[in-house]
Amino acid sequence: MDTRVEKKKLSLRERYHLMTRGLGWEPTYQPTEKVFPFTAYEGIKIHDWDKWEDPFRLTMDAYWKYQGEKEKKLYAVIDAFAQNNGFLSLTDARYLNAIKIFIQGVTPLEYYAHRGFAFAGRHFRGEGLRVACQMQSLDELRHTQTELHSISVYNKFFNGFHNPLHWFDRVWYLSVPKSFFEDANSSGPFEFLTAISFSFEYVLTNLLFVPFMSGAAYNGDLSTVTFGFSAQSDESRHMTLGIECIKFMLEQDPDNVPIVQRWIDKWFWRGYRVLTLVGMMMDYMLPKRVMSWREAWEIYGEQNGGALFQDLGRYGIREPAGFRDACDGKDHISHQAWLTFYTYDPVAAFHTWVPSDAELDWLSAKYPESFDRYYRPRLLYLREQQAAGTPVANKNLPLLCNVCQIPMFFTEPGDPRRICYRESVYEGERYHFCSDHCKSIFDHEPEKYVQSWLPVHQIYQGNCFKPGTDPTAPGFDPIKAVLDYYEINNGRDNLWYDNSEDRRNFEAWTAEARGN
């Protein structure tokens, strides 16, 4: 009895260990490989699951406590923002197009992560690793929901927000993030963690969240700042899961090193390609800008990424194969993407525009090497045509890269005048790629990437019309038919900002609010 009274306080580590490790056991009534069927097929060798280091030691009671506090604060802000028509204090309604891209292209990814980590949280062996995955599954569910909730108010007053899940499964540019995450979720659990926890969360997520949220703060979007930073606080736990997982695999067996290296090469490049949309958002869609894509890349890509890969060098890991080409692209990709989206705005569920003179000057200052030389003249041409009432719209559907699914607009490393094309032949069919790295991803696993649901191919094959559409009818307008299948409201969700309903409404509402 005395021993029960005189109990020494357990340290965080001891307590967490008792609370988590030792809950599981080796099955004896069913073969282990039937209970955990997916831990070996990727070729990763784990000798001792107990060597897993818990990144953060949160027990469920602490998790609920801190997450509950975060949620309480977050929803108080969301409520206040909605009740006070907070969107009237935005710098400009152009800004909202960044948030449209977010809910269309990022929110569904949070959902995939939720389901993917539930799978990993069930199918890994060690309890520590599984609990970390399960908590992440829960966090990702949180992010999906808080994003839907905080963006809900914008949907009530602006276009381009109303059908994000439907669009995500169909619209051409959204197959970029969709195929990215489905690629991860359809991989084995170790590759999934390398893809999402390490390559995306640890290496690249700062490039997504920090500029987005600082941009929101600069542009009067309190609601997004709050959910963003609140979500990002979970992200720190996720990033740590990523780095611990990499170290765990590398420390368990030297045979894991080449497998992990190949995954890092692949997923760095996959993630980097998806971030093209973020680069475009930072450089073009924020009325008040925080930093350029190039600056963000230099801080979070080159400096942090550099430090990380230097650190991992002791395991025999080198920087990702595409790292240099990604650095080379920092002067170009955001401009190339924006020009492309501008000319395809008739089939996109957000608005584009030509930047103002002041904005063009900002871009010149931020991109001294490239902007005036390659991109300003083209933007000025677009402006001219728009002023003349003949905005430049591209009527030909673009060729897409078979891996990243981005239209083929990226240029050769070192030569921004030449579009980069690569191709491979597999079982008699020719496949096209935007870069050496997308090609090499395909070449390593062609049986996966021949399955890609390429939106442009699908349109040409007649798979993107609503049932009952007759493409042979006289006067058939394929663009209208595709918009109908997409459920994009023609003239409201799409086309350029200058003549948009969003602009008219925002200007009228704010004029009235300010003039009152």
Binding site: S11, R57, L58, E69, F209, V210, S214, S233, M239, A307
Partner: protein, 89 residues
């Protein structure tokens, strides 16, 4: 030598944590962004519970950092008394 960093929300609640970091990591470089504070330190950054308690005059549970944390880099070591970010463990 590479930097590690931590980014925290620029809130009242985070202020004592930021102060504690600056006090215990003399080589800190502080950057303010909208709504965010980022602190870079060469190689190793430490947050000490006792320092925060000294500043606030109240007991502090280090796991509370989660509420205001935005991002970080480096390897993490966390116990009851300190939270450390570093390269090479």
């Amino acid at each position: 030598m590479s930097n590690v960093f931590i980014a925290l929300q620029d809130t009242d609640e985070a202020r004592p944590i930021i102060e504690a970091i600056l006090a215990d990591n003399p080589q800190s470089q502080l950057t303010h962004s909208p709504a965010m504070v980022k602190i870079d330190v060469p190689n190793r950054l430490v947050i000490r519970r006792e320092r925060i308690e000294e500043i606030t005059g109240l007991p502090f549970d280090l796991q509370r950092i989660h509420v205001n944390l935005i991002s970080l880099s480096g390897h993490i070591e966390e116990d009851d008394d300190q939270f450390v970010l570093s390269w090479k463990r």
